[in-house]
Symmetry: C2
Subunit: 123 residues, 2 copies
């Protein structure tokens, strides 16, 4: 699969899983994986999923605006940057977000090595 | 230097250079470097600088809102995600942007392997 298709498939899977049941995201991360979520940083699948599950919203929808991918190494790593809208619970106005994933191949699949998420506030 | 300091130093240097004289950015890229700038993609320092120089604005200022970094490998690679405002020429309203750099160590310095830039349009 080329890196663009992989990035697209991964991202759709990730946000669908996040929006329907984010307790199940753990198998996309490993012990060495890192998450920066706004000003919080954590490492390891367990800490990362605990953080994601603890976020104070019930209903959430990620809507992708742009998705760009590049090969990130000669061993199959893929870098993905997404910008989009986050719709939380019954808030009327979506929030803009930016997120980057660094994906590393493992067998027939990929896991998340780096994950950086930021809401885009106005200056 | 820790990855946070490196990311901060690199980003400040990059945007200062971009905003004062972007013809000089070429030595931050190599033949294998990739740039995604909005919907354009190019590879190699020469093509990347040609693209950056050809952008249709004279005065430009990058203003950083958030800067987040993570180690991206065990060999010293660093991943940086920036969100901020782009002030172009005499436009009254800044445009929001998101950018990611994947930096690879080389001697005592780093070069840009991946560079993805997107303006954040409203949905």
């Amino acid at each position: 699969m080329d890196f663009n298709s992989l990035a697209q498939q991964f991202t759709e899977f990730y946000y669908n899983q996040f929006d329907s049941d984010r307790t199940q995201l753990g198998n996309l991360y490993r012990d060495e994986s890192m998450l920066t979520f706004e000003t919080s940083q954590m490492q390891g699948a367990k800490s990362i999923v605990e953080k994601l599950v603890s976020l104070p919203f019930q209903k959430v929808t990620h809507r992708i605006t742009t998705l760009d991918a590049q090969p990130a190494s000669q061993s199959g790593d893929v870098l993905v940057m997404i910008t989009g809208d986050l719709l939380i619970d019954d808030e009327a106005n979506p929030q803009r977000f930016s997120q980057v994933f660094h994906l590393i191949p493992e067998g027939n699949s990929y896991y998340v090595f780096n994950d950086i998420f930021r809401l885009n506030y106005s200056a």
